[in-house]
Amino acid sequence: MNCEHVRANLLDRLNEQLSAAEQAGLDAHLAQCPGCRQELESTRQVWQRMGKVTAPEPRPQLHTNFYAMLDSFQEAEQAKQKRSWSGIVERIQGLWTSALMGRLAYSLVLVAIGVAVGYWQQGRQTPTLAYQQQIDTLSSQVQEMRQMMMLSLLENPSATERLRAVSYTKEISDVDGQVIDALLTTLNNDANVNVRLVTLEALAELGHDARVREGLVHALSRQDSPLVQVALADVMVKLQEKRSIKPLRKLLQQEGINDLVKSKIEHSIRQLS
């Protein structure tokens, strides 16, 4: 046993913490080592003196303070538990007061903005609507003008002008009785064969109109030009106008009728009947 080992165990020796064998070994060393004996003595001294340093008694306030703390802690704890019960209700209330109200206000503002923008847009649309109305009246005025121009042109001495007038009918979207009458008159009375053919063409397009059909049937007996007669017969077939059979037969009985026209009309009658 060396000194270092002995000195490390001196305190345990003092406190009698060593086993019997260890203590015996230590004591044997101490008996022959004055340095270690001195060391033991100084350790004993310090250890004893340390024991004399005593802590004072804590003041009784410590008691009162502790129990006050314990009480308030328990109260806080109970309050916390209560809160967990009524927590949901409180949370909902909290939502109402803070977050939800904020959101509600926000969405209300959004709705208000939406309504305002809507009104503003409508305000902007009103002029466009008026504009649209203006355009409508304007275009109807243009139509009226075209119609008038056509009607006046049909009475033009120039065949070219009259052809142009007839071609206008295609551009008139809403053909009224006046125009149809004018066209039928042209078909029956115009001196120029070409004008009459073009007029027939225009009238064929308006075949859905009952008055046009009637006029065309009547026109059959009035035509003397073989070209117009053949064209008329074609239109009759196209429109499947059965009323035209009678005038067509009459046409066959006419004197000096073109053979070509005759066979064409006969063919047409067969197709119709």
Partner: protein, 176 residues
């Protein structure tokens, strides 16, 4: 303590009655100030209540108590560091020693004051093991559990602390 953990907070009163003196003693020997020690006892018991769910029940209640107490002491040391006067317990012990020195008749008390002074000058690490073994009368095994170390390491540390204490004690006596 397990009952406290389970929700019976009144049982904390029982633990206080049993352990507050021991805890106060430890804190007093560590910091040397009675009022501060009382405050810290209060703090330790408050933390026991607040963090009662961390008490596992594996170790003894005392070990847990010392763990909490050491943490409170560390907090105090950091507070003191922040408020310039480094470690006023040295000042405190010197003041007592000086006061006592004036009274030659009370030689023994002077000795005591010198020892207190020496203890105060000891590093926290050394003073802690000495306080725990001398004043709290804990076995190496218990100290080892508190300090999260081995029994052997505690024994070595106590020995070194005691050697250091003797050295400081003698140097103070020489100054006189």
């Amino acid at each position: 303590m397990l009952q406290v953990k389970a929700g019976d907070l009144n049982k904390m009163g029982l633990l206080f009655e049993r352990y507050h003196r021991e805890l106060f003693g430890f804190l007093y020997h560590m910091c040397g100030r009675s009022d501060a020690s009382e405050d810290m006892v209060q703090t330790v018991f408050y933390r026991m209540l607040k963090y009662r769910h961390t008490f596992t029940g594996d170790g003894a209640f005392r070990t847990w108590m010392y763990h909490l107490a050491r943490n409170v002491l560390i907090d105090l040391a950091q507070q003191n560091k922040r408020s310039t006067h480094h470690y006023d317990l040295v000042e405190y012990a010197e003041k007592i020693a000086g006061g006592m020195a004036a009274d030659e008749a009370l030689h023994k008390e002077q000795e005591l004051a010198t020892l207190q002074n020496a203890l105060a000058k000891l590093s926290d690490e050394y003073r802690e093991v000495l306080v725990l073994s001398r004043y709290q009368e804990l076995k190496y095994e218990e100290i080892a559990r508190i300090l999260n170390t081995t029994e052997g390491a505690v024994k070595v540390r106590v020995h070194r602390a005691l050697t250091e204490l003797k050295k400081i004690y003698l140097s103070i006596e020489h100054e006189r």
